[in-house]
Amino acid sequence: MIVSALVLVPILFGLALYAVPRRAAGIAKGASAVLAALVFALAALEPQAPDATVRWLSRPFAAAFHLGFGPISFWLVLLLALVTFSALLVVRGSRMREIAAQLLVLQGAMNGLFLAKDVLLFALFWDLMLLPVFLVLVAGGTHGRTAWKYLLYNLVGGLALLLATAAFGVLAGTTDVIGNPAARVGIGATWGAWIFAGFAFAFLIKTPVFPFHTWMPETYADLPPPVVAVVSAVQSKAGLYGFLAIGVPFLGPEMAQARPLMFVLGLSALLYGAFVALAERDAKRVVAYSSLSHLGLILLAVFSGSSLAYAGALVYIIAHGLFSAALFIVLGAVEQREETRDLLRLGGLGARNPQLAGALMLAALAALGLPGLAGFAGEILILTGLYRAGYGWPAVIALLPIVLAAAYMLRVFQSIMNGPEHPDLPQRRDLTWLEGLAVAPLVAAFVWLGIDPASVVAAMVAGGAHVAGVR
């Protein structure tokens, strides 16, 4: 009941927002923010909510509309609700109503993705969550190319996922298996490789991982800040979640086979993203490439087969969600004030906007993995896990991007906030209370997570027992 509400209520409410007259867009925004908060409360208060399931298909394989919390999905749903709430608070502009609506639809679809206990249902929401973002990009106007890149890249992945799901269902007889360790899925080695390839292709594009990443920087650069906050914070985790929820339990051998390849991809994403971020001029693109780098690290963890690294992966997934959302929201605020994202044109804002500077500083610090913040907790767990699982060189190589991260994150912060004030830039007011309200919970969350990730990790390790073959 509750779990289906988590999916349906935001979608329906979002669609209903279109009935609100444009004049009352502010009301729409407020109402949707309240709804997001309620969704958060609903999920947080009922972690033991019972599954909801309705039969869908019976032949050639059994499938069901089966939604329910899992050890990982619970946290992801919370993260999503939190980020959506913050994002909704900073929605602004003439398209306020549409963006708010699409954000809610997106939230509903992604809740469905994370709560799906059925692979086919997972695939359904996988495709469904493309539409709101595509529509936002399209309605943005001049971003046709970006919209196409986003849609086609991800849709190709989605179709591979679809084919793999079909084959999975035919061979396993049912797709209603996620989070069900008892489900003995008999997939032969011959087909397993192909099916895994299908899943992996979709997941890698979505994450994204080098060399499937080129859709991401443009999408992030063109999306309005609230939406990009949600997309980068949560949607980019869908693929990793897929690996953890479908790959690890049911395609363990194939994942082990693919490990070398995935390590190569992960490491190249890790380094590639970091280096490009060092050279970018556009603040949003810097953060986009930094995500590429960070998500590459998580990919390593996912394929490491080490429980320590899995724990780190979950912490880092949540952490990255929190700080990248904060980063994009603050950068959005900067852009909205100064009408540019060009690091070479910005500068000296810190003097007049101390709170803005503080928010950006905190987010950047979390992103560069400052010890004591969430990013560090995830990194150290993942890296030690990798090293301990016997992947010494990957772990050591993965240390380099940490230094680079410090360099490019500080570069972003300093070239926006420090240095002499630029007279040609419009000097606007400091962080508004709405923006503050949007950023504060995120910051609080990643500070808390950095000090005591145990609450999350413990849940993960407890619930993550289904993660088979963990060293």
Partner: protein
């Protein structure tokens, strides 16, 4: 919980001042100082329980099995905490005067308090990762304070440089942590030390030490990770005194002392540390001889003194090394604060060539500096004498004659450049009004020393320092002179204090010569250094045509020294520039012209196919009919092959 208070009071101060700074205005300073003072008193109150067997331990959070975080106050961390909070308190008080009238007065104290908190985290942590957390946080605090005047591009750059270099160190420590966790699965010091010799074979211990040493080199400005320290002088002088002289930069010493059991277990590691320390000591000292910015002189001397400490703890003379940290904390703070008085009085003039003759103008500053100089040069009776002697002799005792030689030589150089500083600054005529060219100073329009924090102020003031600045200096004079006696002779209270401390009782091989002889040698060399300095800067002749001489020296300084052995240039070229180039190559070539191009080709070619098939649609019925027949032909051909032939 007392210890938690010691630890959190500064944090509370930091947050309070950061959040409500504007409202608190001038109260920010006193509040910040008071909190540090309280923390200091609390630390003193904990002396008993800290020195008691089994130290003082407070568990905090636990991440995973074996990943338990807690605070621990034992003899080593006690010493450090006392210095951090004690000297920190004095410097806070001093800053009230020094930073008076700065636009971001409250922010300054917020950062300072935060730094103290971070440093306490570092020394109080009872495990490797907690240590790393503190390690990172002090780096952050130093970043904040170096870049305190963030409208100066030079300060911003220096801050970033310092932070990134420190992250290199963090990464080194992470590597050490990999090994520890991989081998032990636990992160507590106790577990680590227990593991030495069992779970941790000698090779692993060495690797761990290497990792740790990278961290220590970055934090303590050891060659080759030292280049950030001179630039760090962009920060306000009290910051230089507290962070970049007294406490943070000595964290490396703490690190090695803390992991003494590991170092004791690995000769190679000791070798490495000793060599690097010695190298740093001498190269820093040499660079100190050619600097003109008073703070940079002190910065290089700091670098060289830390070299001593590292050398000491490296070779296994832990008590000596730590003791040198103790004395250095006092006399270096003393020197910096003295310098601060001068800088403050001269409205941010930091170039000693523009000073001179200040002995009469500000006698108190002279006294302060004099005491500091005597101490750092190791003049008998002053604190530096005892500690430095310990270290130098320790190298010999540990059987490193070369390091010994380096130590002795460095002592002489130290004496030279410190007295050079003293003479040029305080003797002869005042050269503040001499134009820069005459002194051979390359004038840059907006040098860092010009656009200071007083830029906002109305009257360009040349005033005597407020009492608030003198008091702490005066207080510091006492330990600067007398603290050394703690370590006088065998069985000194200091040696007693650390008897039986884990790893400190490294078996020292018998020395090649008696300690007294060594002391004599050192003193001789120091005297030589002093004489040289006097001959070049102190004699009446030298003082008379000081301007000309300084000009000559300025122009004659070998460029290799002016550019500090070209480290910065090399790093800029090898790392920074190439990394950026690679990144922009990825961004401008690989992404658009390789990956995207491939995808675009697919898209374009499918569009092209679409138009191709479209062109097949000529609209002519007969062509359509032909295509139909063509299809039929294909079908028939297939059936002929599949079934006709088979019959």
């Amino acid at each position: 919980m007392m210890l938690a208070f010691v630890w959190l009071a500064p944090l509370a101060g930091g947050i309070l001042l950061w959040a409500f700074g504007p409202q608190l205005r001038s109260w920010a300073g006193p509040i910040g100082s008071a909190l540090i003072g309280a923390s200091f008193l609390a630390t003193c109150a904990l002396w008993g329980s800290a020195t008691a067997p089994g130290a003082l331990h407070v568990p905090l959070v636990s991440w995973l099995h074996g990943w338990n975080f807690g605070l621990q106050l034992d003899r080593l961390s006690l010493i450090w905490s006392l210095i951090i909070t004690g000297v920190g308190f004095l410097i806070h008080v001093y800053s009230i005067g020094y930073m008076d009238g700065d636009r971001a007065f409250a922010r300054f104290f917020a950062y300072m308090n935060f730094f103290v908190f971070a440093m306490l985290t570092l020394v109080l942590s009872d495990n490797v990762i907690g240590l790393l957390v503190g390690w990172g946080l002090v780096g952050l605090a130093s970043y904040f304070l170096i870049g305190f005047w963030f409208d100066r591009p030079s300060a911003v750059a220096a801050a970033r440089k310092a932070f990134v270099m420190n992250v290199v160190g963090d990464v080194g420590m992470m590597f050490a942590i990999f090994l520890i966790v991989a081998k032990l699965g636990a992160i507590g010091y106790a577990d680590v030390f227990a593991g030495v010799g069992h779970a941790l074979d000698s090779g692993t211990v060495f690797l761990i030490c290497v990792g740790l040493f990278v961290g220590c080199a970055a934090k303590s400005a050891q060659v080759p990770l030292h280049t950030w320290l001179p630039d760090a002088m962009e920060g306000p002088t009290p910051v230089s005194a507290l962070i970049h002289a007294a406490t943070m930069v000595t964290a490396g010493v703490y690190l090695i002392a803390r992991f003494a059991p590991l170092w004791s277990a690995s000769a190679e590691a000791r070798e490495m540390a000793g060599v690097i320390g010695g190298l740093t000591a001498i190269s820093g000292a040499v660079l100190g001889c050619v600097q003109w910015d008073i703070k940079r002189i002190l910065a290089y001397s700091t670098m060289s003194q830390i070299g001593y400490m590292i050398m000491g703890v490296g070779v296994g003379a832990f008590t000596g090394g730590v003791f040198h940290f103790l004395t250095h904390a006092f006399f270096k703070a003393q020197l910096f604060l003295g310098a601060g008085i001068i800088i403050h009085a001269l409205a941010n003039q930091q170039d000693v060539r523009r000073m001179g003759g200040l002995r009469t103008r500000m006698p108190f500053a002279f006294l302060a500096m004099l005491v500091g100089v005597l101490a750092i040069c190791g003049v008998p009776g002053f604190s530096g004498f005892f500690s430095k002697d310990d270290v130098i002799y320790g190298t010999l005792a540990a059987g490193h004659p070369w390091l010994y030689a380096v130590g002795v030589l460095t002592a002489g150089i130290t004496a030279y450049y410190m007295f050079r500083l003293l003479f040029v600054t305080f003797f002869g005529p005042y050269r503040g009004d001499v134009d820069a060219a005459a002194l051979g100073i390359a004038v840059e329009p907006s040098g860092p020393s010009v656009a200071g924090h007083h830029a906002e102020e109305e009257e360009p003031h040349h005033h005597a320092p407020p009492g608030l600045m003198n008091v702490p200096v005066a207080i510091l004079i006492l330990p600067t002179i007398f603290i050394g006696w703690l370590d006088f002779g065998e069985g000194s209270p200091w040696k007693q204090f650390f008897r039986g401390f884990p790893g400190f009782d490294a078996a020292a091989t018998s020395a090649a010569m008696p300690e007294l002889a060594s002391t004599g040698l050192v003193l001789a060399v120091v005297a030589a250094g002093f004489t040289l300095a006097y001959a070049r800067y102190g004699t009446t002749a030298a003082l008379r045509d000081a301007v000309a001489r300084l000009r000559n020296e300025t122009l004659r300084t070998p460029p290799v020294l002016v550019h500090a052995y070209y480290f910065d240039a090399a790093y800029e070229l090898i790392f920074a520039r190439s990394a950026r180039a690679l990144g922009s190559w990825f961004d401008r070539v690989i992404d658009p012209h390789v990956i995207d191009a491939g995808v675009r080709e697919v898209a374009i070619s499918s569009e092209w196919l679409g138009h191709l098939f479209r062109s097949f649609q000529t609209g002519l019925v007969r062509v359509y009919a032909l295509s139909l027949v063509f299809g039929v032909a294909c079908f028939v051909a297939y059936y002929a092959l599949a079934f006709g032939v088979s019959r």
